[in-house]
């Protein structure tokens, strides 16, 4: 085991010596160069458009370069558990940041936005309501159980009449690892409908339309972010998290259709 570890370290050293540290998680580069600080933000895939729009405006004065890494919140959390250290973790729920906080991996999470859970269908679709999803032959794409969008979906289906919920689950043809997969399947016509966030539908520029869900069954969706413990750049990380509730990123999130957190 020790030999294995030693050899791995050796290989890592050789790799680092080769000079290409562009894609690593900033282990060696932050601070070394001096001038340019790098801030690594791991964010839920559903915030892609919003954060990409505001990240370049972050901390111009401090010459901080923000690197965004988008994936399913659960994958990002798993990476952090496996020892990957971004500076900020922004998730599409509150459960994952809370869990990581309990595990002493991130600082106290902050709720920064809300989202609306909707049914997405192609703009020219005949589907008008959740009830239409029970017909046989309808193909539905949802999030896989491990990703927030998937657990919200199951939460919603559990609140429907049992027969209805089951009929809808029977029509599920794909459990996608993140929101983008669901949107892609629906906009390519591979699936007839998918459960996503309203912000994802807004981002398709009219290709998809959002069908609102009955308020009684709609899950409450709150996004939370936290500074990762051991972050290379904790000061900027905290500033970034603060900026999600006021600043360019708060504005970009609002523009994308996110709601603000009631305090």
């Amino acid at each position: 085991m020790r030999i294995l570890a030693l050899a791995l370290v050796l290989v890592a050293l050789v790799a680092a010596g080769c000079g290409d540290d562009d894609d690593d998680s900033g282990e060696s580069s932050a601070g070394e160069g001096g001038q340019e600080q790098r801030l690594i933000v791991s964010a839920a895939a559903s915030m892609t458009e919003a954060l990409e729009a505001c990240a370049p405006d972050f901390g111009d004065a401090e010459e901080t370069e923000v690197r965004l890494s988008f994936a399913g919140s659960d994958e990002l959390a798993a990476q952090i558990r496996q020892g990957v250290k971004p500076d900020v973790f922004a998730a599409a729920n509150t459960a994952l940041p809370d869990e990581l906080h309990d595990e002493d991996l991130v600082e106290q999470p902050v709720e920064f936005a809300t989202n609306e859970f909707v049914l997405a269908v192609p703009a020219d679709s005949d589907i008008e309501a959740v009830d239409d999803l029970t017909e046989s032959g309808i193909k539905i794409a949802i999030g896989s159980e491990s990703v927030p969008i998937g657990s919200y979906t199951r939460e919603l289906l559990a609140k429907l009449r049992p027969a209805q919920g089951e009929a809808i689950l029977d029509n599920v043809r794909s459990n996608e690892p993140d929101v983008k997969g669901i949107v892609g399947k629906v906009s390519q016509g591979a699936a007839d409908a998918g459960f996503v966030y309203v912000t994802d539908v807004n981002a398709t520029d009219g290709a998809l339309k959002a069908i609102e869900l009955p308020a009684a069954v709609e899950p409450e969706i709150t996004y939370a972010a936290a500074v990762v413990k051991g972050a290379k750049n904790p000061r900027d990380a905290q500033a970034f998290v603060d900026g999600l509730t006021n600043g360019p990123c708060a504005q970009a999130l609002a523009d994308a259709g996110f709601g603000s957190v009631q305090r």
Partner: protein, 280 residues
Amino acid sequence: MRRAAASRRIPWFPVLLAVCLTATLLFLTLPVVAIFVDRSPVELIDSLGEPGALDALWLSLRTTAISIAVILAIGTPAAYLLATRSFRGRALVITLIELPLVLPPAVAGIALLAAVGPAGILGGTIDALGIELSLTTAGVVVALTFVASPFYVRQAVAAFAAVDERLLDASRTLGASEARGFLRVMIPTALPGLAAGTALALGRALGEFGATLMFAGSFQGITQTVPLAIYDRFSTNFESALALSAVLVAVSGALLLSVKLVAGAEAMGGWDAADTRAAR
């Protein structure tokens, strides 16, 4: 004096070669070894019992087998033609066939959606035929076949090109038709190279991830192959992801080894030998 100088001279080049080989070997084998060292074999076998893991294995084996059968049945004659005829545009045809080799899997997924997806250029035709590809097991087979076939065809062309023409001429002189010569002379002679190509295509098909996810989706028992199941478990059940990875390594390794054994020792150097001979 001269002797002292000679003994002080370090044979730097062979040392460099050895260092590079060691680095290559360590870098390539350590991550694979880590999969097995990280958990005990008992734990690995236990987590395979979890629902979905066996479904994924069975689906991967089935779809890979079907796509390899298709690749062999159609790719072998096609490769034979490319190896034995010269015609205008032959180089272009070979390049086009090899193109998926260098495509990133995500591009392969997008390309398949654009071509044969429901909204793709052939989507209407396929739908009219009553065939459904996206989000179905058939779609997985299409994705695997698309990404894996160049590995086989490329190899098969080289293997056929390396067969001594006089063998085929002799069978023709003895009155055998070209079809008979192809089956009785060319295939047996080129077998080591064909087997090597099959092993490469098998490995690629078993490991296919991106194109499958984008084109066929991910559903237990229907489209969720082992690589997709591994990805799905990565966040929630690392144990199970490791176990499935270990199985995939073992199955791929066993396939590679058995193909090499079946085809005889020559297959060990099948592709490089075939390439050099083809170049001659």
